[in-house]
């Protein structure tokens, strides 16, 4: 990163004001700035290197995103998080209450196929629980990806160990994944789910949102909505 960019970041951080009034526009301001620095840095790199291939640019982009989140969002996380939590206090409490009721429900309430309901999903729930120590958007998105991986590995290890009966070459479909994820989320003991989802939607790298991270963030948001609207508990 150039000295000029570093100077811009310092100035941006110095001038950043975070209060209840500007919290809704703050994410736009921060994201625009991160995009701008990333764009400028990549542009300079392209000018410098004649043959920078696409893969390298994507790797540099991902590293820059992490670096900029660390530099800009991290020092302000507690303040931002505090305001978002305050705004969503009632919604967070509502989801918390719904989860307490859903924890008592059987697997079939979530629409899990019979054979998958015999599986122990506690590993996936424990992985997702590490949300409680995440601060930066990329950290949350990585936890979502790891949780999704663990779901598929859990299913396959159960099939391979013959703990569950399965058709030969059974494919775990989109029909199966969402109910499993809802179940895992309900049992993950994460607080302030609405606040977390709002933070991630507002502060995550928009470039990722049409891809795998975006897909699992969408599944996370959908699961919260399912919990919120569950009736007859």
């Amino acid at each position: 990163m150039s000295e000029n960019s570093k100077k811009k970041i310092e100035n941006f951080k110095r001038d950043l004001r975070i209060n209840q009034q500007n919290i809704s526009n703050l994410s736009v301001k921060i994201r625009k700035f991160i995009q701008q620095i990333r764009f400028e840095t990549i542009k300079k790199l392209k000018e410098k290197e004649n043959e920078t291939d696409l893969e390298n640019i994507e790797i540099i982009n991902a590293i820059l995103e992490r670096l900029l989140e660390e530099m800009i969002i991290s020092p302000n996380f507690d303040k931002i998080n505090g305001f978002i939590k305050k705004k969503n206090e009632l919604e967070d409490q509502k989801i918390h209450d719904q989860i307490q009721k859903l924890k008592k429900k059987n697997f079939d309430y979530f629409g899990l196929p019979n054979q998958l309901s015999k599986i122990d999903w506690s590993l996936s729930s424990r992985i997702l629980r590490t949300f409680n120590i995440c601060k930066l958007p990329y950290e949350f998105l990585n936890v979502l990806l790891t949780t999704a991986d663990s779901v598929f590995h859990t299913i396959n290890s159960n099939i391979l160990n013959h703990d569950i009966q399965s058709e030969p070459n059974k494919l775990v479909t989109g029909d199966d994944f969402l109910p499993i994820f809802v179940f895992v989320l309900v049992n993950s003991q994460i607080e302030n789910l609405v606040s977390i989802s709002e933070y991630l939607i507002d502060y995550s790298d928009p470039k990722e949102m049409n891809h795998e991270s975006g897909y699992y963030l969408t599944t996370f948001c959908s699961s919260i909505q399912f919990i919120k609207t569950s009736e007859n508990l």
Binding site: S27, A148, F152, D175, I201, F226
Partner: protein, 205 residues
Amino acid sequence: MTFVTPNASKIVILGDSGVGKTSLALRFTHNEFHDLELSTVGAKCFTKSVHVADKDVHFSIWDTAGQERFQSLAPIYYRNSRAAIIVYDITQKKSFHEAERWVDEMKRHGDEDLVIALIGNKSDLNEYREVKMKVAQEYALKNNLIFLETSAKTGEHVEDLFMKIAEMLPSVHAKIPENLDHNFGIVSISKLEEKEKRKEKKNCC
């Protein structure tokens, strides 16, 4: 760490549960059918590129859950999609009616330039057919949809489907968010509800 394909066009796959949505995506992206090893990969967002009219079109294909209890969550998934593949099972009449419902929903709530494809899957099971091809074809024609019968099992017409979609996309480039405020291809349900309410209010006045 994941690395993204630049400017990928998002395609959402909708349809009743068990019609073969995941199998279609897997056949197209990995040329496989029900492969046990691949299920460990855990990707329910599949990616692949095709070359059309001298351009590379990158697809990001989003699988969804088809059960009725999850239908209200679909708008979170199909937001910002460039194309919707609505799948039914040719051996299940009920799944065709469900597909008609999805077509209505996408026409009402999808983006103006959304490409919609109606797909009759499991064409390898012709002897158990409950949905006549002619009926589906006429419905597709009337509603200006791409129509194909496919078999994820044999691979029949799966590649054709995605090539047709690529050809129909208004631009080979993905939409770049006009602004960064809640327009990342993902939006919370409450914000969608607000948008719908505003739309309804506008229509009734």
